[in-house]
Amino acid sequence: MLNKILPVAVSAVALAALTACGSTSGPGAGAAASGGAAGGDAIVMGFSQVGAESGWRTANTKSVQEAAKTAGIELKFSDAQQKQENQIKAIRSYIQQKVDVIAFSPVVETGWDTVLLEAKRANIPVILTDRAVDSEDKTLYKTFLGSDFVTEGKKAGEWLVENSKGESQVNVVELQGTTGAAPAIDRKEGFAEAIKAAPQIKVIASQTGDFTRSGGKQVMEAFLKSNPDIDVVYAHNDDMGLGAIEAIEAAGKVPGKDIKIITIDAVKDGMQALADGKINYIVECSPLLGDQLMDLAKKVIAGETVPERVVTEETTFTQEQAKAALPDRKY
């Protein structure tokens, strides 16, 4: 769901994520100190959010705002309403206001070089959150904090491998995200990698449900008719999984029992379904990266070296864990 708007060029994210982890940050690392040292008192952070397209994003915003308050960082927040030009405007105004650090979730992957160069020249370090940019010049930003979609897919696959030991054949149908979107590509890849370990698990059909409930429902309806033996549904997000539940119920089967369901995201509706026993396993894709962001910001301003890629702290949920976690779920 989070990357519904992310339209094109994708694989670079995965590459950047994989290659970046090993190396230390580039030559620009030391220069950052001058920007932050000037003020002396509270750190000022300029944050440009994508927009408010879903509960996930709203939780993301809240997390950043609350974490800034607890960390004693003054936050200048702007909402780009899904438009790149708004984000560029916001970043330019942060540069003019001479904030200590800029953080943003890019609406799209490309077209950031100019404005990021302006920030670099003004000695203001930039942190990317949740989404990457596609740029040749890796010195334009300090670090990218966000989920690793491949790992999410892997976690989903590993659970299935673990829970299908001893079975002779497990038929999986996959509900992919929007074709070409980074999370769809990576979650498919990670899952495929993990289930290689178990030859009895086979993906017998895989189609895109566009990350939406209606998409998930329609595709699942067709799957149920063309494949009589479906054991597991693997959906790239909760919403498609919720759609699949409706289709399975309409076919007179019991979701979670006759057909097991694994999803990714852990939004509230998904967690509710997990607690109700209709979904079997959810891999979290957490929007609550505020605290990590503030830590990174402090380190960057203090001139410390930070890794170029930081993965959000995320967990997984079984049905019992969902029941326990549901009451204080923020999104």
Binding site: E53, S54, T58, Q176, T179, S214
Partner: protein, 387 residues
């Protein structure tokens, strides 16, 4: 068929036999046959919990919103207009209903659902009035006038839902899109609307008036027709259709998703109208054509899912089929086929080329035009084999 059709059931039958609708029907049957060949269970229909269950039932259920919107679109297009805002209006209808239901004192009661539906349809009425006002009174070009609401409408829907996906648990509301009275309720609603429109426009002079406005608005006005009122009415009707379709879409998954509900459905609806043989230049329209067009589009989508066509080539596959169908019913292409056949077979004494009557025209293109249809089908099979 170039002569103006007479109204009624006989007219419908005649139109089916007429070449315009013949090829879309052939395409629809070919698609279903291809599915059945690949997966014999495709045609099977059984009873499941007291309702029909099967791929064909899915096509009807999921095709209902497109059919309903295409129905409104047919009339708009007949007046030489176009309505791009229907997808956004559908999103608004779902958003209003779901937020009303969630906000009511008893979110599971039928009363809450009815209040929501009433509010949503009232709002759709206003939106249709707005579109009609821009087009008929201010004389703004329809594509521009409705583009306003196409972009702004989705924003309004987001504003209503606060950008969140609103989930409802209301059994009454769920019936509209996901419920069954043996048949899916959604298709029953859409077909009822279709029949009602057919009766109202073909049993009375209204259909003729709409067509005349589309063919020449100025001449119609001079002839004493209230063309403004007619244009205004069709936009209101289109918005109402879109509203009900929006209810079906959101009710089908018991949630309102302002971002994606009815996204690009205006394109599907326009395509359905065009496949059905109505011209975008306005004038003559075919309701049965629209029905077939909407069914083709949904069958195509279901085919992609059940044949296992890879998502990367889905759009290409759909485009190929649509191009094939459009070519098959394009008068110029048909004319060319006919000429080629004649030149290939000039000596035959029984050649229909000498006769100018309608009957041989219906017969002669059949074998030639069948080839491309077969090509498209084998094309798709190759795609499947590759993927």
């Amino acid at each position: 068929m170039s002569t103006v059709q007479t109204a009624g059931a006989a007219g419908v039958l005649e139109r089916v036999r007429g070449s315009r609708l013949l090829w879309p029907l052939v395409a629809l049957v070919a698609l279903i046959a291809a599915n059945a060949a690949r997966n014999p269970g495709f045609l099977s229909i059984r009873l499941q919990d007291g309702h029909l269950y099967g791929s064909l039932v899915d096509i009807l259920k999921n095709g209902a919103p497109t059919l309903l919107i295409a129905l409104g679109m047919t009339l708009v297009i007949a007046t030489r207009g176009i309505d791009l805002s229907v997808g956004a209006v559908a999103a608004i209808a779902g958003a209003v209903t779901c937020t009303t239901i969630v906000g009511s004192s008893d979110p599971t009661s039928p009363a809450a659902a009815l209040t929501g539906i009433g509010l949503a349809l009232a709002l759709c009425l206003v939106l249709g009035l707005w579109n009609g006002f821009l087009v008929s009174l201010l004389g703004i070009q329809p594509i521009i006038a409705t583009l306003v609401l196409m972009t702004a409408g989705r924003g309004i829907a987001m504003l209503i839902t606060d950008g969140q996906i609103i989930t409802v648990r209301n059994d009454f509301y769920r019936e509209i899109g996901a419920g069954f009275l043996l048949f899916p309720i959604s298709i029953l609603i859409a077909l009822a609307a279709l029949v009602a429109v057919a009766l109202v426009t073909r049993r009375t002079a209204l259909g003729l008036l709409i067509e005349s406005v589309g063919i020449n608005p100025e001449a119609s006005r001079l002839a004493g027709l209230r063309s403004r009122t007619i244009i205004w009415t069709v936009y209101v009707f289109a918005a109402l259709c879109a509203g009900v379709a929006g209810l079906m879409i959101s009710s089908n998954v018991s949630a309102a998703d302002a971002n994606s509900a009815g996204l690009w459905i205006e394109m599907d609806a326009i395509l359905a109208v065009v496949i059905g043989g109505s011209s975008l230049a306005g004038g003559k329209y075919s309701l049965s054509g629209t029905l077939v067009g909407a069914l083709i589009i949904q069958t195509l989508t279901t085919t992609v899912y059940s044949m296992g066509i890879a998502p990367e080539v889905t759009l290409v596959f759909k485009a190929l089929v649509v191009i094939a169908v459009c070519l098959l019913q394009a008068p110029k292409v048909r004319e060319r086929f006919r000429r080629r056949r004649r030149s290939q077979d000039p000596t035959s004494p029984s050649s229909p080329s000498t006769s100018g009557s309608l009957a041989p025209e219906e017969d002669s293109p059949a074998p030639t035009a069948h080839e491309p249809a077969g090509d498209a089908a084998s094309d798709s099979k190759q795609k499947v084999a590759q993927s």
